[in-house]
């Protein structure tokens, strides 16, 4: 942690010097001290908007993970549905979010729903892909063994395939979390009256760059925080993936 912190502080120091001594227009690039000041002065505003965005993201991720898991299981069990759905899945990711968000706003209004759709859409793809990879990573020999133990398809899925895929599911969730933050910001730019993305846009429009940067800093912190939470969950749920092997074998 400490080396990373030292690097960050060094960069901030360089930034401060550049703005103070380099004659940069503070409207374009505010100095770190101005950003810190804004973080303090606008703390109530930042906090209330943070709650809005965080709620969208958490709900969106939960929906994405559930839908992603279901989709992956369906595709895993049905080769027909795999051929039918997988190409559509991939294509869905190619739709640029800035184009999608206004359309959704038209359909679903300005509430939380269009944002959940956007967040769900961008974050459920990594979950599906990694989960499917997890299912595919099950050793074929193990599946044969289960058959000789008289385990049916569902039994084998429950006891072997699902737990084997769990690390991959959580990896997908970690990616989804990061992508969800981006999705939330875009969704808010298009159709919101609150949230950090909205606040960012407003701050730029109001010529308050320090506040805009402060908002960005909070967004980064949110992203890092959620990622760290997911990593901690991973450690709790997958204790066997973090253990030492014994020596002395081939």
């Amino acid at each position: 942690m400490l080396p990373a912190l030292a690097v960050v502080l060094a960069l901030l120091g360089a930034w401060e010097l550049y703005v103070d001594l380099g004659g940069v227009d503070p409207l374009v690039l505010p100095a770190p001290h101005a950003i810190v000041a804004s973080l303090y002065d606008d703390r109530a505003l930042l906090w209330s908007n943070l709650l809005v965005t965080a709620t969208e993201i958490v709900l969106g991720i939960l929906v994405a993970m559930f839908a992603g898991l279901v989709m992956a299981i369906v595709i895993h069990f049905s080769p027909v549905l795999r051929r039918a759905l997988y190409p559509i899945l991939v294509a869905s990711q190619a739709v640029p979010v800035p184009m999608l968000a206004p359309v959704l706003a038209l359909w679903l209004g300005f509430g939380i729903l269009p944002k959940l759709v956007v967040i769900g859409l961008v974050s459920f793809f990594p979950v599906v892909v990694t989960t499917l990879a997890g299912f595919a990573s099950v050793d074929v020999e193990l599946l044969k063994l289960m058959r000789t133990l008289d385990a049916g398809r569902l039994e084998t899925f429950r006891r072997v395939e699902l737990p084997t895929a769990l690390p991959s599911v959580l990896t997908g969730a970690k990616i989804a979390i990061v992508v969800a933050v981006i999705g939330a910001v875009f969704a808010e730019w298009m159709s919101a009256s609150s949230g950090l993305g909205y606040l960012f846009e407003q701050s730029i429009a109001q010529l308050l760059p320090a506040r805009a940067f402060a908002t960005t800093a909070i967004l980064c912190a949110l992203s890092i925080g959620l990622f760290a939470l997911m990593t901690a969950a991973e450690r709790r749920l997958l204790p066997w993936a973090h253990q030492q092997d014994m020596e002395g074998d081939r």
Binding site: D139, K144, E155, R159, Q243, G248, D249
Partner: protein, 262 residues
């Protein structure tokens, strides 16, 4: 499922694996099996015959790629032969790598077959625990596979196969992944286990010495397409020692049949 308040003895009787009495053993007659591969069809087995009477241990020795694994999968009913007859008692497969589930402890891994059959976790654990002790793994019930040595993992894997309660055991090079010292120990261990718990065993191995130490009969297979080249009964009393003259001469005969200068 035992009634409330039943003694452990009741559970044991319900789930103790059956002895290999009666039944048909393993009967494989004139079996051919072909696979489709990129370069054309690959004939894995060509007129393969194998018989194992109930309770007999038959070792199958042959060069890599001769169809030994295909043979075991036919015995376990995982695939059907193209021609010929396969008539076997229910068989369980013990694969080459232990393939223990990394998220379960040794006891839960061993009890897997019981859980699949529908026993509750506690009942399955209670049934498997005395076996784990007999196999020298007392104290390691909760240990995950990553915390066990190779020999211990193979023992858990073997116990898992045994507790499936099937009269036929199909062992696919069970000790190939172990270092030589552990392998020697495990061969002696397996001989003692099979003495106490007789089953119909088809043991596929590269190790000629292993075959001679454990089997009642050794079958030598040809390179692909696999068929029987030589069948050698091993009529030596048990327990067998590596250095006895009977063992040495049997090894010599088999190596000769394999085309290896002893």
């Amino acid at each position: 499922m035992p009634a409330e308040g039943a003694t452990p003895v009741t559970i044991e009787t319900q789930t103790t694996p059956p002895r290999a009495v009666g039944g048909v053993g393993v009967v494989i007659e004139a079996v051919c099996k072909e696979f489709r591969a990129r370069g054309g069809p690959v004939r894995a087995l060509d007129g393969m015959c194998l018989r194992a009477a109930p309770g007999e241990v038959v070792a199958v020795v042959g060069p890599s790629g001769c169809g030994k694994t295909t043979l075991l999968e036919l015995i376990c009913g995982l695939m059907a032969a193209d021609t010929g007859t396969v008539s076997c008692d229910p068989a369980v497969l013990m694969p080459q790598r232990d393939l223990l589930l990394p998220w379960l402890g040794a006891l839960d891994n061993a009890a897997l077959a019981l859980r699949v059959r529908g026993l509750s976790r506690d009942d399955a654990r209670a049934a498997a625990a005395p076996w784990l002790e007999r196999f020298g793994l007392k104290g390691f019930e909760r240990a995950r596979p990553a915390q066990l040595s190779g020999g211990m993992r193979q023992r858990v894997s073997f116990l898992r196969s045994l507790l499936a309660g099937k009269p036929v055991l199909a062992l696919d090079e069970p000790f190939a992944a172990l270092d030589a010292i552990t392998r020697a120990e495990m061969q002696g261990w397996l001989a003692r286990v099979l003495d106490a718990e007789p089953r119909t065993v088809v043991l596929v191995t590269h190790d000629v010495e292993e075959a001679v130490l454990l089997a009642d009969r050794v079958i030598v297979m040809s390179p692909r397409p696999g068929r029987v080249v030589r069948e050698l009964p091993v009529d030596l009393p048990r327990p067998r020692r590596r250095t006895e003259p009977g063992i040495v001469s049997a090894r010599e005969a088999i190596l000769e049949a394999l085309g290896v200068r002893a």
